[in-house]
């Protein structure tokens, strides 16, 4: 709702009284406070942890730190050094909201900048889809082969790579509606036990049978991370849900993981 387009819906609305309902009011863009102007103050709040067990499935969250291989580590450090040298040299600050945009703009203006941009992408790619993470994913898929799992990735390329390597279906924005419905039906019927996806299953899709969420990679958004957890929380019998978060240790991803876990749903989780 606080986004520039959606906020117009509230601003142009004639309704004098409004009631909003949200599972994830927290936003990464710092506009959370605007909700108060657009809708009003929070009048009732029930956290996921309070609903767990009664209205939502019981759940546990497990963060798994995996190491890069030696070659990956060497390349990661080298690429990161190139990228950081450029960022520091240019005086770009990533704690500023416009920091990243500034980096992209400056990177396009020189050869060194373009190299720094490539280095940024490569070090990120190494951290988000390391070979150790994929090996661990194989272990988890085998371990939970009798349950229904959702594998979340940060980008489509990784989702397709997971699909190719582990022979599990994938749903992205490129999946046609007919095939997407068929995959979800088969998942529900148990003909498929896992689905890989990047963002499209984050919200708005009801997959009550899913009990395992494996976050292979993601952004630093609390909202996204809570939504991903929400996919496996639909209560069904004595279902106990589990969310695994695979994080490449001693990389920038550790910080990203800390940021997205700043929510009561993850408080005290491993």
């Amino acid at each position: 709702m606080p986004g520039p387009s959606y906020s117009l819906a509230a601003e142009l609305s004639l309704a004098p009284f409004r009631l909003g309902l949200s599972a994830t009011p927290e936003r990464a863009d710092g506009l959370t406070a605007r909700l108060e102007t657009l809708i009003g103050p929070i009048v009732y709040r029930k956290d996921i942890v309070e609903l767990s067990g009664r209205y939502l499935a019981d759940y546990e969250v497990e963060r798994i730190d995996v190491e890069l291989t030696e070659d990956e580590r060497r390349e990661y450090e080298a690429e990161r050094a190139i990228y950081l040298e450029f960022v520091r040299g240019q005086g770009i600050r990533f704690d500023h909201p416009a920091g990243f945009g500034q980096f992209i703009m400056r990177a396009s203006q020189s050869g060194a900048g373009q190299r720094a941009l490539r280095a940024y992408r490569r070090q990120r790619e190494l951290a988000l889809a390391s070979s150790a993470k994929l090996d661990y994913l194989e272990l988890l898929l085998s371990q939970h082969r009798k349950q229904r799992s959702l594998v979340f990735t940060q980008d489509n390329a990784t989702a397709y790579a997971v699909s190719r390597r582990f022979l599990i279906p994938v749903i992205t924005h490129q999946t046609k509606i007919k095939e997407r419905s068929e995959i979800l039906e088969r998942f529900s019927a148990g003909s498929y036990s896992a689905i890989a996806t990047s963002k499209v299953l984050n919200e708005g899709v009801d997959v009550p049978d899913a009990s395992v969420a494996i976050v292979l990679s993601g952004s630093g958004s609390v909202r996204e991370h809570v939504q991903r957890l929400g996919r496996v929380l639909r209560r069904q019998g004595d279902k106990r849900a589990v969310l695994y978060e695979l994080v490449s240790s001693r990389t920038n991803e550790s910080g990203t993981s800390e940021r997205r876990r700043e929510h009561s749903a993850y408080a005290g989780a491993g």
């Binding site: 900048g113 373009q114 898929l141 085998s142 490129q174």
Partner: protein, 440 residues
């Protein structure tokens, strides 16, 4: 079309300008085009990912990046990508993933899925080698498409297209365009007006004093929601505007994500029309063919006349077809065109144009026209033929679904049998012929 960030546009004090390529930049653009064309030809058969990577890898300085991306965009438009021929990827996925689930659920604790065994098993059932099966798994993804062919122009022509594309991309974001054209050759007007109709653009034509025309066109952003199709039609009409010669174009834009209101001006950019062709609407061609096929005492041809009603406060009518009764009056000199005979009627096909356009014509016809004109209108525009009853120089033929040539010819006969117009005729009939010094 190019996104705003890839155009050579600059904003300044509420105005948007396009910076033209300098001679050094044009030479560099030709070099890059040569390299792009050469690499595209060698990459026929490669997948999209490889082709795009090769295009992006051409060495450029950061300042040339935008130029390379713009030229690459054009080369991509000329390239033909298609999914590789394979068994239906969806059925391959269904079979492979289904089998993988079966094999995985049968695993003992600590065991891992034997991926190669699954592919070999399903491949054998489908009569495919495992590698072929694997390639077919996501053969329908965009990145897997293969470059089939590319019919690329010369590097110089590609650069000319790039320059034209700049203007087209800007006008795609226009609300309203006002173009003052002064053509060097009279039939350029005809080609322009025909093209505007062919592209079904919402436009109005007025004469300028002492020569030329002012064409006002509604831009894509004036519509309730900017439509790609309309924007594309507008872009395709631009070469005809530029081909007129002298051109002064003003456009009101909504630029960028924020739809910023900006003014754009273009004065005789000297950009050549790479296609150089003018179009005739399909329905006009079809009607001409039907008229030729109908056994009637009328000879049909594309009209080369304009009916200028601007002095009466109207616009310029651009009839599509001229029907002449046979025999016609012969010209006084052997090389001259025959003058309109008594039995000569102009036909304008309004098709699904706006209702307003029909009423503007009705109003003009009621004042009297110098030439006999039959307006052919779709019943979807909800107008009645009776609106022009009693008006001798003009008639309305309203058709439902498809034009009936015989009904149309009966209307033409009726118009001619009225004889001379009773009212003082309005409007100047202008015949545009190649070689005429200017329109009269």
């Amino acid at each position: 079309m190019l996104p705003p960030e890839l155009t050579r546009a600059r904003k300044r004090e509420g105005k948007l300008t396009l910076s033209a390529l300098s001679s050094a930049e044009r030479a560099r653009a030709c070099e890059l085009s040569t390299a792009l064309i050469a690499s595209s030809r060698t990459l026929v058969g490669s997948d999209r990912e490889q082709v795009e990577a090769a295009w992006a890898s051409l060495p450029t300085s950061p300042k040339e990046r935008k130029l390379l991306l713009g030229l690459t965009h054009l080369v991509e438009q000329h390239a033909e990508f298609a999914a590789p021929e394979s068994v239906d990827p969806e059925s391959v996925r269904r079979a492979v993933f289904g089998r993988a689930v079966e094999r995985r659920s049968a695993l003992a604790d600590g065991e891992h899925l034997d991926r190669d065994a699954v592919l070999a098993e399903v491949g054998a059932e489908m009569g495919l080698a495992p590698a072929t099966l694997e390639a077919a798994l996501y053969a329908d993804l965009r990145s897997a498409q293969r470059l089939q062919a590319c019919s690329l122009p010369t590097p110089e022509a590609l650069v000319a297209e790039y320059e034209l594309l700049q203007v087209q991309s800007v006008l795609l974001r226009s609300v309203r365009i006002e173009a003052e054209v002064r053509a060097a050759r009279p039939d350029a007007y005809r080609e322009l007006f025909r093209k505007l109709k062919f592209r079904q653009l919402l436009h109005r034509i007025q004469t300028l004093s002492p020569t030329g025309y002012k064409v006002t066109i509604d831009g894509p952003m004036s519509l309730f929601g900017a439509t790609t199709k309309y924007g594309l039609e507008l872009s395709l009409s631009l070469p005809a505007l530029l081909a007129c010669g002298q051109l002064k174009l003003k456009a009101e834009l909504r630029w960028g994500k924020r739809r910023e209101k900006l003014d754009f001006e273009l004065v005789n950019a000297g950009v050549a029309d790479p296609s150089g062709s003018s179009g005739v609407r399909t329905e006009v061609v079809e009607l001409l063919q039907a008229l030729h096929a109908a056994k009637s005492p009328w000879q049909a041809r594309l009209s080369d006349e304009l009916i200028d009603l601007t002095e009466e406060g109207g616009a310029v009518l651009v009839p599509d077809i001229e029907l002449r009764s046979i025999p016609m009056t012969q010209p006084a000199k052997p090389n001259e065109r025959p003058e309109p005979a008594e039995g000569s009627v102009l036909i304008e096909l309004l098709g699904y144009w706006s209702r307003d356009a029909v009423f503007r014509r009705i109003e003009a016809a009621e004042k009297g026209l110098k030439r006999k004109v039959l307006f052919v209108v779709s019943s979807r525009l909800r107008v009645s033929e009776e609106l022009l009853d009693g008006v001798e120089a003009a008639g309305l033929y309203v058709y439902k679904g498809k034009i009936n040539v015989h009904a149309l010819l009966r209307k033409v006969e009726g118009l001619v049998s009225h004889g001379h117009t009773r009212h003082a005729p309005a409007g100047r009939a202008v015949r545009l012929q190649p070689g005429d010094p200017e329109r009269r």
